[in-house]
């Protein structure tokens, strides 16, 4: 990779610069222009870049010049093997995440119950989507008037979220303790609000 140089010290400095160039180009989100790179490794940047380009030419990753800058890209000939699937990963809607969470915590739970917990109607698409994704499935019918269908989570749900059993879901107290559930405004100076039982009991006054 390094051209013959007579001076060992010089060779070492050269290797150091090539390594820094490699790292800079690798870590940058945007192609880097020669001027920027010259600021880091000196005026011989052009030669160094050509050297790197030659080194990577036969490899699975190549150094390419794009627009005014330089960037590493996976080799063009590998594109068919790297081709990404059509579907791009998407964010699940907030309604869907909430619905999934409620099913996880309250299962078996009917759609009516989910709606009363969330306080808004659940669109049919939400449950369909969660089911299509394999996270939930219909459970037994509830033996109440109308025999509504209940929903429960699947093994795939556990798998996806890295849980061994449903019992490993943090409890409401755990969530509160971890700071993930914080509804009550903190009353400064009244340390005694920890005394939940006393406060909770006269809530109805």
């Amino acid at each position: 990779m390094i051209k013959e140089v007579t001076d060992a010290h010089e060779a070492e400095a050269r290797i150091g610069k090539l390594r820094l160039l490699e790292a800079l180009l690798f870590a940058s989100a945007e192609p880097l222009d020669e001027e920027t790179l010259a600021g880091r490794v000196g005026p011989e940047v052009g030669l160094l870049l050509e050297e790197l380009r030659a080194h990577y030419a036969p490899r699975g990753v190549t150094l390419v010049r794009t627009g005014g800058g330089w960037a590493f890209r996976t080799a063009v000939d590998l594109a068919p093997e790297l081709r990404r699937e059509e579907e791009v990963s998407r964010k699940l809607s907030r309604a869907a995440i909430e619905t999934l969470a409620i099913i996880a915590y309250h299962q078996p739970v009917t759609r009516g119950e989910i709606e009363s917990i969330r306080g808004v109607a659940t669109s049919k698409g939400t449950l369909d989507l969660l089911m299509e994704h394999g996270w939930i499935r219909p459970g037994k019918r509830r033996e109440t008037p109308g025999r509504p269908l209940t929903w429960i989570t699947t093994d795939h749900f556990l798998d996806h979220f890295g849980l061994e059993t449903l019992r490993d879901l943090p409890s409401v107290d755990d969530l509160r303790a971890a700071g993930l559930l914080d509804s009550r405004p903190v009353l400064l100076g009244l340390g005694a609000t920890a005394d939940d039982s006393a406060l909770g009991s006269d809530n109805e006054e």
Binding site: S89, G119, N203
Partner: protein
């Protein structure tokens, strides 16, 4: 005091410098701010012995801690309960170490001292480990991943990006919304002084003789904020009523139970002057 300030954990030197120019109570406050609880403070005091933690003198440490707490209380500094619990425990430990061991099932003073030494070592070890951990080259700070990843989505485990954190946070928010649907500021029930004055006035008519103030407290509340505020409100109310000449107060000594009775004749000539004088005059 001065050497306590010098024991600050690393990173608080600036505070220490500031402390040198402020009042003793401010100094103590600054010192306390630097600690993560009583065990952390003990550890800082322990480091000052400049010996290996395995050979630390627990007795000396207990003395240092108790001195610190005594100083803090002298300047009427509000100490968190944690610190007082530790002080009580250390005082007990000290007595166990100094007095002959009683026969019993309790762990010996030596065992208790060893347990404390172990806790200090363990905490010290974790602090050291944390330091080493964060001294390591860290991702996106020292070491960097590919800056322009080409999204291959190889794993194809899921089309949707949802982590357990997202799920738990969604549920937490949902619960929080539910708990505070109509902004429910959990009512902090406090006993007001007016309430206590009303209550005492009506009760005193039925209590011709001296009675403990505590016996006037509303029943059915045990411990907690409400009870404590009721006590405070009733105390303030008795002072107010005494000032108006409607009740008399009596107390044997500091922190002794406070007795109260309706003033015979209950006329309107209000008396100024402090409670203790008035109490003495009736003894």
């Amino acid at each position: 005091m001065a050497d306590l300030v010098a024991d600050l954990p690393a990173g608080c030197e600036a505070d220490a410098a500031a402390a040198a120019e402020s009042s003793p109570s401010e100094q103590l406050l600054l010192v306390l701010d630097g600690f993560e609880g009583p065990l952390d403070m003990l550890l800082a005091l322990g480091r000052d012995q400049k010996v290996d933690l395995t050979r630390i003198s627990i007795l000396e440490l207990a003395d240092q801690y108790l001195t610190f707490v005594a100083e803090a209380r002298k300047v009427r500094l509000e100490l968190a309960a944690d610190y007082l619990v530790m002080a009580a425990w250390l005082a007990y430990l000290k007595s166990r170490l100094l007095l002959p061991e009683p026969q019993g099932e309790e762990p010996s003073g030596e065992d208790m001292a060893a347990a404390l030494a172990f806790q200090l070592q363990r905490l010290e070890a974790m602090k050291g480990a944390a330091e080493k951990l964060f001294a390591r080259p860290r991702l996106r700070i020292d070491v960097h991943p590919r800056g322009a990843p080409e999204d291959l989505d190889l794993r194809r485990k899921s089309v949707y990006e949802v982590t357990l954190f997202d799920l738990l946070r969604a549920y937490g928010r949902q619960r929080a919304r539910k708990e505070s649907g109509v902004l429910h500021i959990a009512p902090v029930r406090l006993y007001s002084m007016e309430e206590a004055v009303r209550r005492l006035s009506s009760l005193l008519g039925h209590m011709p003789d001296w009675a403990m103030l505590a016996s006037f407290l509303p029943s059915g509340e045990s411990g907690g904020l409400l009870t404590r505020s009721a006590l405070a409100a009733h105390f303030a109310a008795t002072l107010e009523l005494a000032k108006a000449g409607r009740v008399e107060l009596r107390q044997e000594g500091a922190f002794a139970p406070l007795y109260v009775r309706g003033r015979p004749g209950n006329s309107a000539d209000s008396q100024d002057g402090d409670i203790s004088e008035e109490a003495q005059s009736h003894d």
